[in-house]
C-alpha cells in the first residue's frame, strides 16, 4: 500500500551478519536457510527491504569476505562477485578486452551508485534492466556458483529464469563471473537509452562481433529491458554469421531484433518506443563493434 512504500525507513526487523570468510558465510546461510538474504552493494536489496518487497530474517553482508572481491587474469578473466561496478569499469583487462562490459559499467547510473553496486549483485538481482547483464551475456560469461560442498559453473545464458529469478539454489553463493578471452578480431559495444542518465534503462543492448576481413565469423547480441529476462538474440545473430559486415546487413539484423523482443509499456517507456529504439541502438552497436573489430587489438 502507498503509505508504507518508501525508500528511507527499513521497517521490518532483521539480524545483520558479517562473515569474514566464505566458509563462515556458507554456515550462516545453512543456519538461516531461505529467510536469509545476501547483501553485496545493497543498491537493490536495501531499497527492496525498505519497500518491503523483501523481508529477510537475516541479512548476511559479504563486504568482509575478501576472496569475493577483485579481478584476476588467467585462462579466463575472473571478476569477484563483490567487485564494485566502478572497479570493473576502471580495470585494465576489462578496458583492454571487454569494451561492452566497460561501457555498461560506465552507463550504470551515477558515480555513487557505481561505487556501491557490485557486479554479482547486479546479476543476482536478475532485473531485466540490469546494465551489466547484456554485456556479460555477449562476452560469453559464466557464473561461478559455490555451496559448502560443491562448485558449479553456469553459462550466463542459462542463468536468468525470470524477473528477479535465477538458477541459484538454496545454500549457493555466486562467487565470481568468468569471461573467456576474446577471439582475435573481436569488437564489442554497449548502448543504453534512458530518460535521464541517472536512470534505469528503457532499453539497452550489447554486441560482440568477430570479423575476419569483411566476414562476420561470430556474433552475439543481447538486450535488456525488453522482456522478462535479459535476452539473447539468436535469430538476428543467425542472420549475420558468415555474412559480410555491411550497414545493410546490420540494419536487417536490427530489424529482426525489434521483432523478436517482447517489451512492455511501463512508467519508463511505451512498448512502441522500446521496439523503435531497440532497432536503432542494435544497429548502432553492431556498426560500432564492427569498426572496433577492425581496429586490430582484440577489443
Amino acid at each position: 500500500m502507498f503509505m508504507n512504500t518508501n525508500t528511507r525507513l527499513v521497517s521490518p526487523e532483521f539480524d545483520y551478519l558479517q562473515p569474514k570468510t566464505l566458509a563462515e558465510a556458507f554456515t550462516m546461510l545453512a543456519d538461516h536457510g531461505g529467510s536469509a538474504k545476501l547483501l553485496a552493494g545493497g543498491t537493490d536489496l536495501l531499497v527492496q527491504m525498505k519497500m518491503e518487497r523483501q523481508q529477510p530474517s537475516h541479512v548476511i553482508s559479504l563486504s568482509r569476505v575478501k576472496e569475493l572481491a577483485g579481478i584476476t587474469e588467467g585462462d579466463v578473466l575472473t571478476i569477484g562477485a563483490t567487485t564494485s561496478i566502478r572497479d570493473v569499469s576502471r580495470s585494465g583487462p576489462v578496458i583492454a578486452g571487454y569494451t561492452a562490459l566497460q561501457e555498461a559499467c560506465n552507463a550504470y547510473s551515477t558515480v555513487s551508485v557505481m561505487l556501491m553496486g557490485t557486479i554479482g549483485g547486479n546479476i543476482c538481482n536478475a532485473s531485466p534492466a540490469a546494465d551489466t547483464a547484456p554485456a556479460l551475456l555477449v562476452h560469453d560469461a559464466s557464473a561461478v556458483l559455490r555451496s559448502g560442498k560443491a562448485t558449479r559453473t553456469v553459462p550466463l545464458r542459462d542463468f536468468f529464469t525470470g524477473p528477479g529469478k535465477t538458477v541459484i539454489q538454496p545454500g549457493e553463493i555466486l562467487t565470481a563471473v568468468e569471461l573467456p578471452k576474446p577471439a582475435k578480431g573481436t569488437g564489442s559495444a554497449f548502448l543504453k537509452i534512458s530518460r535521464v542518465v541517472a536512470d534505469i534503462s528503457q532499453v539497452c543492448v550489447a554486441v560482440v562481433l568477430v570479423r575476419d576481413g569483411d566476414t562476420i565469423t561470430d556474433c552475439r547480441i543481447a538486450l535488456g529491458s525488453v522482456g522478462p529476462t535479459p535476452m539473447r538474440m539468436k535469430q538476428a545473430v543467425g542472420a549475420l554469421i558468415g555474412k559480410r559486415g555491411t550497414p545493410e546487413a546490420f540494419a536487417a539484423a536490427a530489424d529482426i531484433v525489434a521483432k523478436d523482443i517482447t517489451p512492455i509499456t511501463d512508467v519508463r517507456a511505451t512498448e512502441k518506443y522500446r521496439r523503435h529504439v531497440s532497432r536503432i541502438i542494435a544497429r548502432d552497436a553492431l556498426l560500432t563493434a564492427w569498426q572496433r573489430a577492425a581496429e586490430g587489438a582484440a577489443k
Binding site: 502507498f2 503509505m3 528511507r8 521497517s11 551515477t110 530518460r195 512508467v267 518506443y273 536503432i280
Partner: protein, 802 residues
Amino acid sequence: MQSTEFKTIGDASWRKDGIAKVTGSEKYAPDISVDRMWYGRVLRSPHAHARIVSVDTSAAEALGAVCLTYADVPHTRYNERIVSTPPCLYRDRTVVADKARHVGEALVGVAAPTEALAEKALRLIKIEYEVLEVITTMDQARKDGADPIHDTVLLDGVDKPIVNNVAVRRTIDVGDTVKGFAESDVIIERKYKTSRIYHAQMEPKSVVCRPEIDGGITVWASTQSIHNTRILLGQIYDLPLSKVNVKKVMLGGSFGSSIQMNSVTPICVGLALKSGHPVKIASTREEDMHDHVRYPSEITLKLGMKKDGTLIAGEMHAEIDIGAHNIQAYPFLGGFGGFWASLYKLPNMKYVGTAVYTNKTPSCAMQGFGAPQVHFAVESLMDEIAHEMGFDPIEFKLRQYVGLGGTFWGQGPASKCIIRSDGVPELLKTGSELIGWDKRQKSGSQTGRMRRGIGMARGFHTSGVGHAKASGAEMIDYSGAIVKLNEDGTVDLIQSLMDHGGGTNHAISKLVAEELGIPNHMVGISPCDTRTSLYDVTTHATRGIYAGGSAALRAAKVVKTQILEWAARVLDVLPESLVIEPDYELGQGVIYCPNLAERRMTVGELARYLHLNSLGTLSSSQSLRMVNCPPAYVSYYVEVEVDTETGQIHSRRAALGSDCGTVVNPALASGQLIGGLSKGQGYALTEDNQWDPKTGELASKGFWVDGKTPSISESPLVGDIATHFAHTYEPTGPFGAKGLGEAAKNPAAAAFANAVYNALGIRFYEIPITPEKVLAALAEQAAGKANKTGQATLKAPTPVAE
C-alpha cells in the same frame, strides 16, 4: 555603474556557509535532535477521494504511541501560505484532513519513542473509507454533477461556496480587445500545455517541535519564512506569538515548495503538544513527492498585429489544475496575467485565468511562479510569428518589449512600477554573439540524423512584490534586519530572511560590508529565530537581495552614521569629512579623513574605545517595504542536438544573460543562471508527473528516479555554458542590485522549444518535449502533414518582406 567601483560587492568571494556545507557539518531541519525526542510518522490516504467513516487508533495507542486525528485538531480552516492578505487568502486546510482529497493526504499523525515504533503503530490504525468519484482532470471536475472536492472554502471569515470545483477565476481587461482584433491584419492563436513537475529540492520537508514548560513551543522547520510559520502555528493552536519560537535552520533547497508552511509542520506541533514530548517528523522522499508540484497550465494565446508586426491586441485564457488544495491560486492567476502584460506592449489585452480543483497533489509555487508557463507560450508564439512573417526574432522582440520607462507588473495588477533600469538590448546582443546566432542553420533545412538547432527566448522575473499603495495590498511584502557593531569592530547581521541555497544571506552580508567600509569577513550572519529577529515575509518573488538586502542596507546606513559621529569626536574632525574603507592587510575597516591623513583609526579601535568607556553598542534595527518591483531581465540562447532516430534531445551549448543590476557576487550569480538552465531543461525536455486517471495515484509512486530530474550528466559541458551580465544599475535597489533567482529559469522552456524548431522545423506546443513526441512529430512531418497539430491561424500571416 561598473561593479569595479565597489570595495566588496562584485568579488567572487567564498560564501560564508560554504565550508559547513561541503564538509557536511551544516545542520538542516532533518538533522536537528533534542533531548527526549520522539519521532512522528503520518498516515496518508491511499485513496484520491474518500470520506472518512471511522478512525480506530486503539491498537496503535496500545503500543504506546500518541495519535493525532481530525478529532484532536482545531477545525478552523487555514491557508498555509499567508503571504496574501485575508481578502485574497482562500482557506481550505486543517492540520489533518476530515476527508481524503488526494493520494497521500495526511489523515492521522503518530508519535512514538522510535521511528520504527511509530511506523509499526501507524499500520495498526484502522480507517474506514467511503470512496468517492476520483477527479483527475479539469474537464471532469467542471462537469455538472461532479463530486465537489470542497463544498466551501473560508474567504475573509466567510464561507464561500465552490461551484463545479472552480477554485478561483481572475480576469484582467486593458483597452478594447474587440476593437483591437478587428483592426488587426494578422491574428494568430495557439494552445500550449505545460506539465506538473516535482520541485526535486534536496531536503524532504522536515520539522522538530519541542513543547516548552511555559505552554509554548520551539520549532525547527524546513521553511522559506520562519515568521509566517510562527504566525500560522500561533493562529492554529491559539498560542500567543511570544510563546511560539521558530528557529532559523539552513534550508536544503526548496524551489518555492516551502513558501507555505509545510503540511507536516502543524502535525508535528500537534503531536508534540499532545504527547508532551519533542517530536521530529522527517518526510520520506515518497511522501514529499505526494506533497507538492508546480502549477501545470493549459494556455490559449491569441495575438493580433499590424502587417509590420506591431502587436495591437492579445487574449489569453489560462486554465490551471491546482490539485486538492488552493495554496495560492489567486495570486498565481494575478501573476500569470501580469507576467504576460509585462513581456510585450499590448494596448488591448484580455486575460481570463481559471483555477480548478482535482484529486491530485496540491500545486504550489515553484521557481518562476507562473512565469515559466507564460514565457513558454509567449516566447514560443513570438518566435513563430517572427518566422512566419519574416522578421528577425531578436529585432521583432526588441521593437516591442516592455522596457525602460514602461510599466512592470510581473506579480499581478496590485504591484506595479515604472521600469528604471533595462539591460535587454545588451543581453540580447551579447547572447547572440556568444552563441553564434547569425551562424545558425535555416530552420528545418537539415536532413541528417543528428540535427543542431539554436533557440532564443527572453524574459524576466519580478524583484519582490513592492508597490506604492499605503493600504489595500493583495500581498504582504516587507523585511527586517538588525545590524550591530561588536566590541572588536566585527558586525553581526541578524536577519530572518531565508536562503534557498543561492547565497542570499552571504550576498546581503556583502552589502552591509560595502556600506560600512569593512572587509566582508568582519560581517557575521547570526543564527536567529522569530524571537530575536524582525519579520520577513518569505524568500519568494526573487526578492532576497532586492528587498531583504535593502532592509539590511538601511540598518547598515544608520550604524555607519553612528560610527562616523563617534569617530569624528575621537578624531576631532567633522563627521562629514570622514570615510571608511576596508584595509585587507589590516583585516579592518579604516576610518580616516582624506584632508588630514593623520586623523585615522580602525573600526575595531573605535569599537574598543566605545566599549571600554561604556559608551554603548552601535546598532540599528530596520524594517522596510519596497515601493517598486523592478524586472530582473534575462536572456536565453541554447543549442540542442536532436537525434532524429531515437527522438532524444541533447542540450549542447547555452549563453545565459542576466540583468540583475549590480552583480553582488559574480560566481554565485553565474551559478544561479546555470542552475536555472538545469531546472529549465528538465521542465522543457524530460520532467512530467503522471497520475493514474482512474485511481488518482502518482504513476511514479513517489520514486524520484521516475521524476526524470536532469543531473549534471544532462548539462552541456562547463565550457559550453557562457554566462554574462548587463551593465545596469537599478536606482531603487541596494547598490543598484535587483533580483535574479527565478528569472534564471523563466525563458528556458521556450528557448529549448525554439531551438528544436530551428533543428527540425517542427513547433512543439506542449512540454516536456519527450523523445516519443519528437518521433511522432517527425513521422507526421515525413507524411507531409502540417506540424501545427490542428492549430489554425485566424487571419493568415502575410509576409511583408518583399
